[in-house]
């Protein structure tokens, strides 16, 4: 059962800007073979189902169409785990400052 979102819901849509073969001339060959894709968020102008075409109004007031991909999309980026090789740096710096940096 596809997820349905009501009018005025904050959503993300996806569509294509340039087809493969229409890309900027300077892009490498593997990039030439894929289309230029776009994702943008806005408020649904009519109810729509995820995976189907939808129309939104963006925060700048533009009306855009595309395939509805996410409803009230979360921000999922993160900065990963600490780097083990850098874990001792703080301790080393404090030791240098305590033993050699005083009085300068």
């Amino acid at each position: 059962m596809p997820e349905r979102a009501e009018k005025d819901t904050w959503v993300e849509i996806h569509n294509l800007v340039l087809e493969k073969g229409q890309r900027a001339p300077q892009v490498p060959e593997d990039t030439q073979q894929v289309p230029l894709e776009m994702k943008v968020k806005g408020f649904l102008l009519q109810a729509a189902d995820v995976g189907q075409e939808a129309e939104i109004i963006t925060p700048a007031g533009r009306r855009l169409k595309g395939i509805l991909t996410q409803v009230n999309p979360a921000y999922t980026h993160m900065f990963g785990r600490p780097i083990p090789e850098l874990a001792s740096v703080g301790r080393e710096v404090r030791a240098i400052l305590q033993e050699r940096g005083r009085g300068k």
Partner: protein, 187 residues
């Protein structure tokens, strides 16, 4: 009449757009092989340093703290040879409203756009300039569109860019995220 919206056709308009919008003959300020009359350029555009400081001040941009990095200076001196180890100070540009020195530039563009009666600001950038433009647009009551190069063919994003997306959306800008390529300037 069918308008040519191909990448080549749109990008070919760039020199004409630059000339028509900026209207500056940069050659006039080149005073030697390595010298440029920057102050002359600023004053001819009506944006001399005093005016800039005043405009930036209205949106809490600039006048950032000068902070001495005492621990780093001591650390450098602790591991350097004799006679080395200048004092290290930093200008804290993260103290600007949207968190970077780009606010300095964006505040002037926003001021100019508002003065000229434009309905909004747009920028093609995946970096700090996007957040700066979105922030200044919000302060000036102007609409904003930021175009980013944001994901690869498997949909992977870089956290730094995703964080800028979040910041721009939080400031009320429309953020258009494109897959990798130079075409963000075309869009």
């Amino acid at each position: 009449m069918n308008r040519d919206y191909s990448y080549q056709a749109i990008m070919a308009q760039r020199p004409e757009i630059m000339r028509a919008s900026v209207g500056i003959d940069y050659g006039k300020y080149v005073t030697g092989p390595l010298s440029f009359d920057y102050e002359g350029l600023l004053s001819d555009t009506g944006y001399d340093l005093a005016t800039i400081r005043d405009i930036q001040g209205r949106t809490a941009v600039g006048q950032t703290p000068l902070v001495e990095l005492e621990n780093l200076t001591r650390l450098v001196r602790a591991v350097s040879g004799p006679g080395k180890g200048a004092r290290i100070l930093v200008k804290d540009e993260a103290a600007n409203p949207s968190g970077s020195f780009k606010d300095r530039r964006a505040s002037l563009s926003a001021h100019e756009a508002k003065k000229k009666g434009y309905p909004g600001l747009a920028a093609a950038t995946s970096g700090n300039y996007g957040a700066a433009v979105a922030s200044q647009a919000a302060k000036a009551g102007l609409r904003c569109i930021i175009v980013q190069e944001a994901f690869d063919s498997s949909g992977l994003t870089q956290p730094e860019i995703a964080e800028k997306t979040r910041a721009c959306e939080a400031y009320g800008a429309e953020v258009v995220r494109l897959s990798v390529g130079p075409e963000l300037f075309y869009y």
